[in-house]
Symmetry: C2
Subunit: 343 residues, 2 copies
DNA sequence: CTGAAAGCGCTAACAT
DNA sequence: ATGTTAGCGCTTTCAG
């Protein structure tokens, strides 16, 4: 006859009440060390583990946070960005002994049902939302609920939400200034999708930096979709205009751009300087190695978790965390490389 | 005065008991359509959603499945394999209205605590374990618990576990036969880590196929670590031995190998035929396009979820699902490409 | 320092 | 067809 292994049973075996067992399990005060020892012995020998659902119900806290990635099309995982972000978030949740729930969804009929699952009470304590597009209804939806959430990235209506982002605009501006400083005079731009704030911010930042240097892209602008292929296609098209420099809004697209340059029989950085954004593709994977505006993806993820726990704990004045980026100068821009950042 | 929005409250507003509300929420029988209509109206206007933890506790089923990836080092996400697998698993869990919890952990002191969190009662209904290494203690650990689980890949002691894998051995053998059929006589092998069963199976399958064709790799063998860099390094070393063909155990490593070939001033497939395994890198991303043994990653993920739900439902005789692979012949092997599979 | 008791919100018999 | 009731295993006052 095997009875359920719960607090009551552990208490029975240790000769104490379930309240006392609960106290030792949760490291509560007011337990004699002798009692504590005995209870712990029973826990060890029985392998008792508290029941998560029961605990959630009684304490009104689940210990799990959700990560919501809408429009999670296949291509999304071809970019190392999300893997890195997930890694950062996962490691931060592990650090605080929480569990990570992943909500991925593309367009489709299931979308609204998943959206509503995310805000199911008693499922997660809060959620991190990322990869939203401009005007994404998801964020409005979240605001209409009482579920704590933080956004990774900059939502359109950022004012009222907690979010953590990198300074895309400043980073792109730095890229422009760097290119200008190298004496380049016919810059081109391969932008990221304009339905994302990161895409818009990087584009604006680049144009702003150019303007400061008295330069302009004129018609040398193309927009990619984050994929390597799109970067290659965009570069191939732009080459007709004979640019002597190009800022590519993501590493992945830059890899494609480098390829297009090579396929056109041109040389980088000799014929054209390339600077990209992300700092996520291992430098040695390309030749020349990419000069890139590095964003601290892992830190962003970790910070998002910390911020979310604060919101869950009751923080109420929207906080806006913005991480700076750092320009890693390597060979693709044609400048003399500086030391690797952090080296 | 706002009262908690629960079954009781919804029932109060609709003028019925909480059991009745529970029935309509769960689509149970024995509810008059008039009552059902009234209750649904209240639910719609209040935005009531059942409390997940309470439901889990009462029903002894959480509706969440865990995905466990040990040794989730950063490099893990540089390979599109895991992204694809997660996508497949996520879409399958969405289909059955379940939630996906992600447990990633590298080596470290936290490892055992995460391992034990995975088997916390009342947290997940079952777990999918993948990316284990040979002799991984995690699987033994899982077997010691009553938590339902399935393995993606082939555990050493597969006999007693449910698992879904692809036929790595047969796929690699096909690659060998294909290369032999092309008239290549000095084949080389860039193997995957020998502490993984996939690595071992692919190696053995290739050697087996070679033997059937009366060929041998002799000393033309190197082992990579799945990374693109390792493939490049391995190829660079092997080139000294003048192979006229190489089987690379993963697409990522093959991309690196192609690069090494180019950097050595050699030509693929002219000087050397390349066949890889995975079929996960978009063909147009490399030139020449890779001939590859394609494994159905997404299907594997979906199938793992289905199998797990069966185990959760009580299935008890270990089942071993093995998906076949398919050779996609493109340009890197030097053969005349066939039509794209599935085209 | 420890125990008793009242829920948390839901499901699932069992009544009616 | 609907209501009543007894838990699920835990946390958390409140007594002692």
């Amino acid at each position: 006859m095997t009875r359920p292994l719960n607090l009551e049973e552990v208490g029975r075996r240790a000769g104490v009440s379930r309240s006392t067992v609960s106290r030792v399990v949760n490291g509560g005060p007011n337990v004699s060390s002798e009692t504590k020892r005995r209870v712990e012995a029973v826990i060890a020998e029985t392998g008792y583990r508290p029941h998560a659902a029961a605990r959630s119900l009684a304490s009104n806290s689940t210990g799990v946070i959700g990560l919501v990635i809408p429009s999670a099309v296949a291509t999304l995982f071809d970019d190392p960005y999300f893997g890195r972000l997930i890694l950062g978030i996962s490691s931060a949740t592990n650090d605080v002994s929480m569990t990570l729930a992943l909500f991925l969804f593309g367009a489709g009929p299931d979308e609204s049902s998943i959206i509503s699952r995310v805000v199911t009470p008693g499922l997660v304590d809060g959620v991190i939302v990322t990869a939203t597009t401009r005007g994404d209804p998801l964020i409005d939806h979240m605001q209409g609920t009482s579920m704590p959430f933080v956004v990774v990235g900059r939502p359109d209506n950022a004012g009222s939400t907690f979010c953590v982002d990198v300074d895309n605009r400043a980073g792109a501006r730095t890229a422009a200034l760097h290119l200008a400083g190298l004496g380049r005079r016919r810059p081109a731009l391969i932008a990221a999708p304009s339905n994302t704030t990161a895409g818009v911010d990087r584009r604006n930042g680049f144009l702003e930096g150019l303007a400061e240097a008295g330069l302009s892209v004129e018609s040398r602008v193309a927009e990619g979709d984050w994929s390597q292929e799109s970067g290659r296609d965009a570069m191939a098209r732009l080459l007709a205009d004979r640019p002597d420099a190009v800022f590519v809004a993501s590493d992945r697209m830059a890899v494609g751009a480098l390829r297009a340059i090579r396929e056109a029989g041109l040389h980088c950085p000799g014929d054209i300087s390339v600077v990209s954004f992300d700092g996520i593709v291992p430098p040695d994977l390309t030749s020349p190695r990419l000069t890139s505006v590095v964003q601290p993806v892992t830190e962003v993820g970790e910070r998002a978790v910390r911020l979310l726990t604060a919101v869950i704990a009751g923080a109420s004045t929207p906080e806006h965390v913005v991480f700076p980026t750092e320009l890693a100068v390597r060979e693709s821009c044609g400048a003399t490389p500086t030391a690797e950042p952090g080296a």
